[in-house]
Symmetry: C2
Subunit: 229 residues, 2 copies
DNA sequence: GAGATAACCGGCAACCCTGCCTGTTTTATT
DNA sequence: AATAAAACAGGCAGGGTTGCCGGTTATCTC
């Protein structure tokens, strides 16, 4: 049983443990450093390509073009399209989560005493679903519904990050410790509503979106009240 | 201002008004009839192709193959991929809505007095988002987020059907007449949650999905209470 | 400094998709 | 019955994508 330490000293260590290989901040070997930089460039371009053209439209050619990298280099880092997709999934999950958690933990640390932490978290999550990475996530999630090969990579990754995510929430909101299932519901409802709004938002317009967001916030507050007593 | 008639005599006339051209049930001219039958077959195959391969992967070739139709016939009915997409969008919206409204109005008519109509409607909607047509809708909605040409066709169609949909709900639940915006929120929350669950469901599993569905149902009942007084 | 190794380059063959275009068969009109 | 028109068939060129492979350059190791 892991001891629960204050979040301010943790800075989402679970995420760091997950991250494979040394990032671009490896100073000793220039070759490896440059290599991992082009790798990152390729993955960033892959996110763009995925968001622009969709999963089926994602082509190694297009990605190499966008990244300003030769097809040879592309093939060196990712031998096949499947390899690229695998790296892409990792990349998308990691960066989206990292972005949210960094923002979240930072604001939790320096929060004004009056601020409602649930509203704050929901607002940050809402911002995170508007990111490029979430666009990529949506593409992948929808494609995985009917592509078994993709699902075989995507679903386990999604489950892993979901687990880490819930763990972080658990640490961030110790008030819910007596009712973890209520917190999980609050989390799931938030994510579901935000995902749904990303799907239907363009049709409904800002006003209707805002109304739904507000109701979701109230629901989470209700759950928090329920958890306290 | 249109007079409000009992739904049982209406059977979603608005939908019939929308539907372009005579369907396959045109008995006079065999040529036209057969033509519209292959057209339907093509569109059905297009739904399959869209769900299987995604919007970018949707190819006229593949659709013709699935429909068991020559490329010539394909080209005759839909001169370009864009034409096919246009027809496909119409087809998907129409059939999904038609399916839901038919089921909904039928069950409303013969509802046992004890049945909660909101739960019933939500259950039917949940079933409808599990349909093939909703899978196609998801593909299109996600693709339209970054494809302007697609969005130019998709968004107006989505708005039109949304309007008809809300109109039908309005007729079906006259109890909300005093608070139409609350009913709209109930509708939007339901659709958003169900969409979000279609995105995240594979990751979360059935138990978590059920919990979210239950909370959404409670929220809708709260809104109904609020609307009554 | 020299060999080993990793990073990168761009061409080739096979395949698929699109849009167009020329025929052929089936149905409608008169 | 004859002409018009709609429905359908399938080939062709142009372009894009994939996976692979031989060659080149930069970096690491000893």
């Amino acid at each position: 049983m892991a001891t629960i330490r204050p979040i301010t000293t943790r800075r989402s260590q679970a995420l760091h443990r997950i991250r494979p290989g040394g990032g671009p901040d490896d100073r000793t070997r220039w070759q490896q450093r440059k290599s991992s930089m082009t790798r990152e460039a390729i993955l960033e371009a892959a996110v763009d390509s995925l968001v622009d053209t969709g999963y089926a439209g994602l082509s190694t050619n297009d990605v190499a073009r966008r990244a300003g990298v030769s097809r040879g280099a592309m093939h060196h880092h990712f031998a096949s399209r499947a390899d690229l997709v695998e790296g892409l999934i990792e990349h998308v999950f990691y960066h989206r989560m990292r972005q949210f958690l960094d923002d979240f933990l930072a604001r939790l640390k320096q929060a004004p005493t009056g601020e409602d932490p649930y509203r704050m978290a929901m607002e940050l999550h809402w911002r995170s679903v508007q990111s490029r990475e979430y666009g990529a996530f949506l593409r992948l999630a929808v494609a995985a519904r009917s592509d078994e090969a993709l699902a075989a990579i995507f679903t386990p990754a999604a489950r892993l990050y979901d687990e880490i995510w819930l763990g972080e929430m658990h640490h961030a909101f110790p008030q819910w410790r007596e009712a973890p299932e209520l917190m999980r519901i609050a989390n799931d409802v938030t994510q579901a509503v935000h995902a749904g709004l990303q799907i239907n938002g363009a049709t409904w317009g800002d006003a209707r979106m805002a109304a739904v967001l507000e109701r979701a916030a109230i629901l989470v507050e209700d759950l928090a009240r329920e958890a306290r007593g």
